[in-house]
């Protein structure tokens, strides 16, 4: 069942909307894009990826890991699972964004827009 209010799902789908990534790279990307403010722990991330894969929101493929020293040579026996967003996942992401913005508008009706929005309108 979809969980439109799940912020972690929204964040992970957003990150994968830009490019295919593997699990550890997703955690790093989230940290980088949030300037270190947000961290999704692996104990949450990997089961979430499993569920997203089960629900058809992401598709996964395995690829051999290539070592640093010989970029063209795969490291024997080591592989990574890469995730990419499916069309269904893109639709889900759009739903998330819509629901999120509707919530923000609702709250802003009470507390007023943030400083950034005020600067824009000024």
């Amino acid at each position: 069942m979809p969980r439109p209010q799940d912020p972690v799902e929204l964040v992970v789908l957003s990150v994968l909307a830009h490019e295919p990534l593997y699990g550890y790279a997703i955690t790093k990307r989230i940290e980088t894009r949030s300037s270190g403010e947000l961290a999704v722990g692996p104990g949450v991330l990997y089961p979430l990826l499993k569920r997203l894969e089960r629900d058809g929101l992401v598709a996964a493929t395995w690829d051999a890991v290539r070592s640093d020293r010989a970029a063209e040579e795969p490291s024997p026996g080591r592989r990574r699972k890469w995730y990419r967003l499916t069309p269904k996942g893109q639709r889900r992401l759009h739903q998330h964004i819509g629901a999120h913005r509707a919530r923000v508008r609702l709250i802003e009706a009470f507390i007023g827009p943030g400083p950034a929005a005020q600067e824009e309108s000024a």
Binding site: M1, G41, P42, V44, G56, R78, G98, A102
Partner: protein
Amino acid sequence: MPSPPTAPQSQSPPSRSPSPRRHDPMPRDAVALWLESLIRAMRLPRREAIEIRDELEGHLRERVRDLMLAGRDEPEAVHAAIRELGDAALLAQRYQAASRPRRTMMKVGAIAVVALAGGLILSNLAPSLGGGWTVAGPRGSVFPADQASVADPLAEIRVSGTIEDTTLEHALEFLATAADRTLYVHWSELEDWGIDREIEIARVPLPDLSLADALDLINSEIRSDNALAARARGRLLEISTQEAFDARDRQLVAYDLSEAIEAGVDPHDVSISLMNLVEPDHWADNGGSIATASALGTKLFVSAPPRMHARIAWVLEQLTDDRESATDPRGASPRAALETRLVPLANAAAAEVATTIDHLLTPADGLERVSIAADPRSNTLIMTGPGDAIVRAKELVLVLDQPTQRRDADPSAKHEISLLRDRLATACSRQMRLIGALMITYAIDGDRWPERPSDLRTLAESQGLGFDIFIAPSDLSPEIIDDMNGHADGWAWADAHSSFEMCPGELYRSDSPILLEKTPVLPDRRLICFGDGHVEIVAAGAR
């Protein structure tokens, strides 16, 4: 899939670390042991378990390397990386839950045995209990069986034949044909549970079974427990998951706890008790996704499907009754006893009548203490309150359950709905449906909206509806909008909070799927519904 891009991180294994400790075997052993305990705890197919192990091993490898580059020594880095992943058994549970279609809820039908403060437990329901009334005895009470299993229309519909060597899609079509019903399958919801229309079904014999039993057999055949659920509404047979039906039927009810609080009961204890007593798996606080409860002041707000509300109301009644008995040594209640009554409706939709009645209950009417829930499957109202208030509420229900004039009864009739900006979308929808105009209302949750326009058309036609106007969720995808613009005279949509906005002509289309942001509000428009079912949107002042 094209080759993935080069990863931003390098992939040096921990063994290439700057200062490995030759005499400390702990790190590698710790990783191996942790992975082993994870795999053991997971009851997944071997191939799946190995994939998870490989993925997490890769994660640990990279995490250890990064921590060591940040200055930690290897054993410390390994322990930190494992600690981030958490307890192996807990992680295994999360993986288990995420790896397969989640199981649906327990079937309602078992007798709930509830022990409250006094610790009284009754294990059998007296066979003489009937009519849907709660029974309060000197030593305790039992949730009535016929309230637990409101008459299920699926049990009354019989099917015969054999389903053989076919797909799930065709099997369901066969079932609907055998039951002489029009079928509508919420495939998008089923697909969310990993149930595909192409699932193969070898053989399911149906020797004059009820529809409910036939569905159980199909569930068993596709090995998804009770994932498929059905609902009969008139001639329409809907198939989805029980969770989806429950989510759609959720009602927010405010329960008054003032008497319990006066008697010294902590409202938070009440909500915790409810979460333990009434279908515990479905509460958000217990990891479920169906029901939530919040105690605010003297009110307990509960969002849950109607069948849970019936149980919740009963539990709360027991709480109050229990307190009254405790404060009155003679056992005589100072107030009239609360009663519960089931009222099946013949014409109106139970959920709508429940909403209307709820709005009508005022202290002046003496009806304020009636709690009402609707069971859409049986189109039945479940009312709980003092006896006299119940009788008056039932009179009101019978008035609202009168047959309404349907479309084509009076083609020249004209009804105008004005002040649209001030009306709730659902109220507007209800008025339109009463006069037979098309109205299909979906919540903002896009997954409840048929993914394909053809599904929507099938749904509309199966309900005998026209195709003039839709209330759409505000986040429809551009593709669907594009396709559907060809079928409508005007558009209206409800936002997440049920305000009502509309514009004539084509639905505004942009590259953004978020219509609400892009669409101008046109407050000067009015919606006019005609008796033949068509709807016009006109400028204010026009006739």
